[in-house]
Symmetry: C2
Subunit: 247 residues, 2 copies
């Protein structure tokens, strides 16, 4: 009997073509973790991730599940897995779950953080995980603009072309701007996100912070449902999937 | 007339063979910064660093000085220099100084930080700048042991063989252990340090934290002046030169 396991993964997405397995590259996180699991299980394992992080996006708490044929104490899984993983992908936790648990279908919410390093110079210590904005940002209007996004809205203005979703309506439960030293964190907690949604929100909030977009304009952008009116897509390297929530 | 400039450098030492120029490798920080300065000056520039960080050791505030023949506004120097530097070396500040200023001879003190990630798993976000110790360390005896090191002592027990200094007496002005999330920081401020001194102090304090070395033994180690009695040399990647102090 195969058992179903849920794991929490942390990764530096900088060296990878995103989460999802692709035809033309083996450098995806899903593929690398599947290969490590297959070594442990000694037969093919399929890994189901809660969400598909894009190329260059990081995770502190990506969640995934898979079935193993072999019997292994659950607390040994992270160590066994990390032995087969590169240093920039780490399994932090494993839990035996109900056979019906599905990391993607059962996800009820996700929390992401966009990290802006608002400083004259980049920092060698965090450069791979932040977007360096040199011009001093005004946090107050950024917070007010962020508040406008909370709740259930059609976020079409904050969605890159090329996605084929049925609906662009999503719910943002909370969006908080946090000042931490030289960094500004945009923490977004929602039921699900459109293609590039958080990176476009970050880019648009940055434009608010440097007074290129007013609060009135920001409201207009959301209502317009027009991607061309919103700000730029902030770089992938500033974005981290913090946590996935389940019932 | 050549002008004398003092700069502050931040670097990720992980990809380099240390600060000091060597015959067999061009991958030293001094060499790379000298080459960048030479491009700006269009004739050879020599760079004097406050201290020689070892291979793999990082800096948040390495200090250096050099003379430039060309005339350039001092506030343009960091930007000009960073344009010629790789992303893991950043010039943060430049200041015009007296012709007599010498980054090494005039240094009055240095502050280093040794970062321990005391956690069951490493972290992809900080792994290059910390030493991951899995066993839970007991901070209290570590603090008491650190207190023993403050003041002027013969630190021969905390000095790797192979150094040819005249005296192994040094003064530690302060040594503080700081808990920051999952990290333990050992902050050491002193007038100068012997070869591998802070890394051996860190290794020995870690052994105190995991009850391999008692406080009484720790006192004995200092008095013995015998390197073989002290703990292991903690890895270079956990060490960062924070700041150099001048009159």
């Amino acid at each position: 009997m195969a058992d179903n396991y849920k794991i929490i993964l942390e990764y530096d997405g900088g060296n990878y073509s995103g989460w999802q397995i692709q035809q033309n590259t083996s450098e995806t996180i899903q593929q690398i973790v599947e290969e490590a699991l297959t070594k442990i299980n000694q037969s093919k394992v399929s890994l189901i991730g809660a969400g598909r992080t894009d190329a260059g996006v990081h995770a502190a708490g990506q969640t995934a599940n898979f079935f193993l044929d072999i019997s292994i104490p659950v607390d040994k899984i992270p160590l066994a897995l990390n032995r087969h993983l590169p240093e920039d992908i780490i399994c932090k936790k494993a839990k035996k779950v109900n056979d019906k648990f599905h990391a993607r279908y059962d996800a009820r919410g996700k929390k992401y953080r966009y990290r802006i390093l608002n400083s004259n110079f980049n920092s060698v210590f965090v450069r791979k995980f932040v977007y360096n904005v040199r011009k001093k940002l005004d946090l107050d209007p950024m917070k007010k603009a962020a508040d406008i996004l909370e709740g259930t809205h059609d976020f079409a203005a904050f969605c890159s072309a090329g996605s084929s979703v049925e609906s662009t309506v999503r719910t943002i439960y909370s969006i908080n701007l946090i000042l931490s030293g030289d960094e500004i964190w945009i923490d977004v907690f929602g039921d699900g996100f459109l293609y590039n949604m958080i990176r476009i929100i970050a880019g648009t909030l940055i434009d608010v912070g440097r007074a290129k977009i007013s609060l009135a304009d920001f409201k207009e952008i959301l209502i317009s449902c027009d991607r061309r009116k919103a700000g730029f897509t902030a770089p992938a390297r500033g974005l981290t999937l913090l946590e996935v929530f389940y019932d």
